[in-house]
């Protein structure tokens, strides 16, 4: 699934130090559940993103264990504290060992 996986993340560019901000993330992924069968009746093997993490300057905001019941093109929305200026790092872990990462800077005043 390494090709065509595309993360999309919404983080405000600026905040006041100590603010709580809302983050939204989407990533393109089939999230093949392992429950479906193909036309000849064979089970289509599971292939999902099994973990998603968000860190800010190295500290954890949220760490999600993901199961096959999460929808195709997984979406997460959550809140984060912004103690200072820095960088959010978002990481998605694929069953096949691939890791997709994107980051967003935020300026705290």
């Amino acid at each position: 699934m390494a090709s065509g996986v595309k993360p999309r993340v919404k983080v405000p560019k600026k905040a006041s130090a100590g603010d709580t901000i809302t983050i939204k993330t989407l990533i393109s992924h089939k999230m093949e559940s392992g429950q479906r069968k193909d036309k000849s009746g064979n089970v289509i093997p599971r292939s999902i993103i099994n973990r998603f993490t968000c860190e800010f300057n190295g500290e954890t905001v949220i760490d999600v264990n993901i199961e096959p019941a999460i929808s195709t093109n997984p979406f997460f929305e959550f809140e984060a504290k912004v103690p200072e200026s820095g960088e959010f790092v978002f990481t998605w872990y694929d069953d096949d060992g691939d890791v997709y990462t994107t980051s967003k800077k935020i300026e705290a005043s």
Binding site: K6, R8, K10, K24, L26, S28, S71, T72, N73, F75
Partner: protein, 283 residues
């Protein structure tokens, strides 16, 4: 969901249980990204005035939860495919060593308004966006054609369509377009399949009612390609036509057939006046 909204939807549910015929479009207003106000209800275009007073976007027939997916581009799962199309726009493909951007230096933004007028007659041929894209891929890029409902094709149709978002649908139905439009209109009112259903039976005569658990819309196509939750990907106009005709238990037409081009023109003309919503989100 706040308490008032919860109560309102509870009442709607009670209405559905007792009097299904009363459930029409809702009264919600579609504002995208807090800045683009969409026309989801307007007077029917002149050619429809014998049969409909008002046309409504399909968005108005969906539940609050489905509607919410379209009001913010970071909620809308279709936008990840629009992002992919932006990458494709800049990717070299074919024997000429060109990308879309090689010729269209100002980016997809230069196509603002184009999708609102499609399909249209070009050099005597009724032309859809898919035709335009494959035509340019062949002539300018020396690239293989994309499959009609393929992921790359519909992502690119969505990217070009997005440039017209918020503009009113305005396809021409007169002049050279007239014979194609007449053919599409005839198809719209033709009963297909073992169930003997025409497009009009569901989407003109019965919109607002329930077909089993499905809330029938007017079948407008101003939001296509549309991210359908059922398939969890972008769905082309012709794919949806095919699905509808298949559900009447008929042999259906092929995607990219002249029949579906004509039907696309006619159905698009029924949306004239509604905002382009591409890429919309539906059930």
């Amino acid at each position: 969901m706040n308490a008032a909204k919860k109560l309102a939807s509870a009442c709607a549910l009670a209405a559905f249980v007792t009097t299904p015929a009363l459930a029409g479009p809702d009264d919600d207003n579609l504002m995208i990204n807090d800045e683009i106000n969409m026309v989801t209800e307007t007077a029917a275009p002149a050619h429809l005035q014998d049969v409909l007073d008002t046309i409504y976007s399909g968005w108005r027939f969906r539940t609050d939860e489905t509607q919410a997916l379209q009001i913010d581009d970071f909620e809308n799962p279709a936008m990840i495919f629009v992002d992919q199309a932006l990458d494709l726009f800049n990717t070299v493909d074919g024997t000429e060593g060109k990308s879309c951007a090689s010729c269209h230096e100002n980016g997809p933004e230069q196509f603002a308004g184009l999708s609102a007028s499609m399909p249209k007659v070009i050099d005597g041929k009724l032309t859809t966006m898919e035709d335009l894209l494959n035509g340019h891929r062949a002539a300018a890029m020396g690239a293989e054609p994309w499959k009609w409902s393929g992921a790359n094709m519909q992502a690119m149709v969505a990217l070009i369509g997005l440039q017209s978002r918020g503009m009113p649908m305005d396809v021409a139905i007169d002049g050279e377009a007239a014979p194609f439009w007449e053919k599409g209109k005839e198809m719209y009112y033709t009963r297909y399949g073992q169930l003997e259903l025409s497009c009009a039976n569901c989407h003109e005569d019965s919109y607002g009612m329930m077909i089993r658990a499905d809330h029938l819309s007017q079948g407008q196509i101003n939001g296509f390609p549309t991210y359908r939750l059922k398939q969890a990907k972008l769905i082309s106009r012709h794919n949806r036509f095919r699905g509808c005709i298949r559900d009447t238990r008929a042999h259906t037409f092929a995607e990219g057939s002249d029949e579906f081009r004509a039907l696309e023109l006619y159905v698009a003309s029924r949306s004239n006046g509604l905002s382009v919503e591409t890429p919309a989100v539906r059930q």
